[in-house]
Symmetry: C2
């Protein structure tokens, strides 16, 4: 708002990394962290700081490669099925795999091919060439050979090979130290109960864990108030030990966003703002000193903070160790829906993945920088590059994988209406078999049926009431998917729908007929949601025109969204399930009991993938846990109604 | 050899895992390790032992989604480019992203769209809808929703989301404890200098690191001698605390292989021998007790031990945590050469991978169970299933990746003759740029040219002497790859070839003419090796028939293999480079100085992939380090000779 705080710029990510690298070099930041000498056993996960040359050969002696007898090959010449050779005691020696080859012998015969006679002699029915089944000195490692280059991150097999080659210690890079400095007047430490308007410092927890995950040490300082001098002092103090300082929040250009200014004052401001979404207001710079220290100003939105670490911190930290950055595997997937994207920004979209009809399908998750659960639930990341306006539905896209494709193949993809019972089922399935995942995306009942039609999901959760017939689900299935036998419908639960109201029901609402009351602020669900269809039906039954309901056109996309609007006082009431009212400590005026069904392709009913779900629906303890939620009945749970 | 030690069986891996699972269940082994309660910050990497439901909503209040001003949407009705609306001081409030929405306001206008007048009023040129740029309570997480199911391995974003949802502690599985019991009279602790016939305990180091890598705690006991009572006592003692005991070595059926017998005596022997290579003599069983404890008898060959952990221990340990086992990404690759495999055994083949002419090419590494460096150098694992007799050269195969495809794309694939200078270059390249790998496979000069012809490598190292012309490399290139302009040749070094002899040259050899001496045992290189061609040339020059050289038909595949044979006393001499003689402390009788060349496709000379190699060859410090090896000259290094 003020002239002195410039707007953040849009530097492409690659250019930003280059500018930061140049600024670091110019300011004299070390290219690598120091090398240290550690025992081989402590070197796993670290990066070699010098090549490892073999000091000894392994094996260090010729040895038996099989259980059997050691012989002189020359003694076996002429042995054949019809002319066996007998070796007397003293002309051979019994050896086990790994035993040193006894002096004077030059071959091993497998014991399966030796016939021992009564007097202890060994009968051979085939001649053996010299060095048969002899494991040579140096077969694995020859002294002086290059075992590992510099810049290699050590795995268990590597340290074992180094030890076998005579190393007892290895020279590796010490782990880089990341110091995280949380800032903000409204930030409170985890463990405290935040007052209204306060925010828990979850970003520092996450960033420290991300740093440790890539092999670094991490430290989090005290929370610093929004004061440029205090932030500057904290930054300089952190830079003394750190190989990278991360200042959290304050990286934008609001009134309390001091990061860019503070970094400029402490050394070099290389970049303020990158063409990456989420993550746009990033600060990259250097704190002057001996040596100088790189600093990253991370945005406070949690998705931005997490991605900023991946995009900017992780490559720097790998570079400091002299190793290649960790790489995520990728796969091709079919995009479940249209994905618009702003030109000029790399757009990091979180997606759920599932294998439907033999093809990996990617469903975009909410894109807000504040929606951390979009990262929690993501199976993959899709980067829409700055030059693209987005992707069409059905397009093949490349996705970085956050879960393995095998696990993704064990995922039941549910798209449609949201119900808490699906969450409960997801957790119960996983508890029974860690490989089974039930992933549900909430797009409303109608959206689910469309997704099923388009081959984007295994099951569609639906509770659509047909106003003409008063019947649920089946009329819509007929309409959208055809009345043929290739669609099956399984009842999940019956549940109570009603008006969610403020605690104590201060307006004394008693039912749908009260929604026309003057001044009442209703909040509706989106078009295609079963709950909206239910409202329409209940209004029509009473002869009420929807235009009489103030707020009818205000839409939320979930039961919980409606409840949140009521809880925040933005609305007086909205239709939803009892569990959503309970989530926000609200009251509930029942309106109707409705079925909630699972719609699927008949061909998949007997699929192995879905078997655990059907078994779960039969379990009495699962049904009990559903009914314990309140507002649910399992009387018809698991019944196939078509 | 003796009747009481049965041969090991060939149980398919899946059946072995099933049999072990049943034996564990029957003996009363716990299905899961205990749940513990830990602070959120300490929960990263652990597996949830119960679902995580959100305790609080996040954000916990409506807040500004942009920097700008908070307004009442109703006040902006009618605002347009030609009819701006002026909001006086007090009719709006300046807000930054994340600030709680001030009471009484219901929308935010981005500051870019606000014109401030001289008297502090805000001029709007567009009406705004209610809730514009307002981040709603619960946008990320709604109280009571399922945040994570049971059985989820916690990542940094997960714990941050849990903390945001009000969790300060999480209930997770404690890390399983793996206790490793090394056995064997010949085994010595790492750090000691092994006497002849003794072996360092590198397997315990590796297995403990593998256990820690999959999130477990690990402990290694003292080394136990080959005595069934001692092993039995150690096993029972280890089982008291352990969730899994690994007995290392003694799992076969040799005279000192007591593992199967000891396990049977201590509880249940479920499996002895699996249809997996390497790894065949595996023991799977249970130690009786309260509770009973699973035990794995791992073979002593290091590749077998490592793969046994992956195939049998890792799934059990994941199961104990209630999580899906970690999964390796996979890719399709073209097999560089024929790969025969025994029917009836899953064959785990280690392969190097490189991207050549746009295609991923897999080159099998040595297959011996004792060649740990084959795992160290592997970029992937190719499993030839029990039902297959192998694969043809050029066949498309599925490979489990041990390195990322991105890194593999930065790998210079060298196939051909081996030279230490390539090792030196590999390490120097990596030190300069951690992303660059030079991977060389040693198949001899001729094999390298064939590999280049077949599109299996980027460069072929060659030092083939044409006896007809006395010229190196070029005549063979013409013959195999054509005399056209599409093949380039770059000189790497000149190097001394000579006779490798025992220290002090006890037989007083002075040159090739002495190789016909009676009783002398020569060791040769394989057909197609440049060093063999050199010998043939030197013999022919002197009019010596190769039949006069005793041992001419004995073949080793590397310089170091020849040196090892001399060092072990299996041969008196063989031709090779000075560095190989030095590796084993041997002496050297120079015979010839020869060039060693790099052959490549002309189209790849200017490829980005190879640029770092050409730059390296020009560096004086690299040339100095090559000449310091002894027996090398860099006078023509880097010169393009065709």
């Amino acid at each position: 708002m003020s002239a002195e705080s410039p707007f953040v710029s849009d530097v492409p990510a690659a250019a930003a990394l280059d500018a930061w690298r140049e600024a670091r070099a110019a300011a004299g930041c070390p290219a690598r962290v120091d090398a240290i000498r550690v025992p081989v056993g402590a070197a796993v996960g670290r990066v070699t700081a010098e090549p490892v040359w073999a000091r000894r050969s392994s094996p260090a002696f010729d040895s038996a490669g099989m259980d059997g007898i050691a012989v002189r090959a020359a003694d076996t010449v002429g042995a054949a099925e019809t002319t066996p050779v007998l070796l007397a005691v003293g002309e051979f020696e019994v050896v086990d795999t790994g035993d040193p080859l006894p002096a004077g012998y030059d071959a091993v015969v497998m014991r399966e091919q030796v016939h021992r006679t009564g007097d202890g002699a060994a009968e051979l029915r085939a001649a053996v060439p010299p060095y048969q089944h002899v494991r040579s000195i140096g077969e694995d490692i020859s002294a002086t050979e290059l075992l590992l280059p510099e810049g290699h991150r050590l795995r268990p097999v590597d340290v074992a090979a180094c030890a076998a080659a005579g190393a007892t210690e290895l020279v590796v890079r010490r782990p880089p130290l990341v110091v995280i400095v949380p800032t903000g007047d409204e930030i409170r430490p985890i463990g405290t109960e935040p007052a209204p308007g306060e925010i828990l410092d979850t970003n520092s927890l996450m960033l420290a864990a991300q740093a440790r995950e890539v092999g670094c040490d991490a430290r989090v300082t005290e929370i610093v108030v929004d004061d440029p001098d205090a932030i500057s002092a904290a930054l300089r103090a952190a830079a003394v030990d750190a190989d990278l300082v991360i200042l959290v929040a304050g990286s934008s250009a609001g009134r309390d966003d001091y990061t860019a200014r503070v970094v400029a004052g402490a050394g070099t401001l290389a970049v303020h703002g990158v063409a990456v979404r989420p993550g746009h207001p990033v600060v990259l710079g250097v704190v002057a000193g001996t040596p100088a220290t790189p600093v990253l100003g991370a945005p406070g939105y949690p998705v931005s903070a997490a991605l900023t670490f991946d995009i900017f911190a992780a490559p720097l930290l790998a570079d400091l160790e002299g190793a290649a950055p960790r790489e995520r595997p990728s796969a091709t997937a079919r995009l479940a829906r249209k994905l618009p994207s702003a030109i000029g920004m790399d757009d990091w979209v979180r997606v759920r993945l599932g294998r439907v009809q033999g093809e990996v399908v990617a469903t975009p998750l909410p894109r807000g920088a504040g929606v951390l659960t979009s990262l929690v639930r993501a199976d993959g990341l899709l980067v829409v590059p700055a030059g693209l306006e987005g992707h069409h539905a059905g397009e093949q896209v490349r996705v970085e994988l956050l879960r393995g494709l095998g696990e993704i193949g064990h995922t039941i993809v549910a798209i449609g209406s949201h119900d808490l019972v699906l969450d409960l089922a997801a957790s119960a399935l996983r508890a029974t078999d860690p490989l089974v995942t039930l992933a549900s995306s909430n797009v409303g009942s109608l959206g689910g049926l469309v997704a099923l039609r388009d081959g984007l999901c295994h099951i569609a959760g639906s509770h659509l009431l047909d106003p003409a017939t008063g019947e649920y689900t089946l009329p819509y299935v007929d309409k959208l998917l055809g009345a043929g036998p290739d669609v099956a419908v399984v009842r999940l639960v019956h549940r109570d729908q009603g008006l969610i109201v403020a605690p104590g029901n201060p307006l004394g609402l008693s039912g749908v007929e009260d929604l026309t009351r003057a001044g009442l602020r209703y909040v509706n669900r989106q078009r295609g949601a079963g709950t909206r269809a239910l409202l329409d039906h209940e209004l029509a039954r009473r002869g009420i025109d929807f235009a009489e309901v103030s707020g009818y056109s205000r839409e939320e996309h979930t039961h919980l969204g409606v409840a949140a609007a009521v809880a925040a006082g933005r609305a007086d009431t909205g239709m939803g399930i009892l569990a959503a009212a309970r989530a926000f400590g609200l009251d509930f005026v029942p309106v109707a009991r409705e079925p909630y069904d699972l719609v699927l392709r008949t061909s998949t009913v007997a699929d192995d993938l879905l078997a655990p779900l059907w078994a779960l629906l039969e379990r009495p303890e699962f049904r009990a846990s559903v009914e314990a939620l309140g507002g649910y009945s399992c009387a018809e749970t698991g019944r196939r109604i078509r």
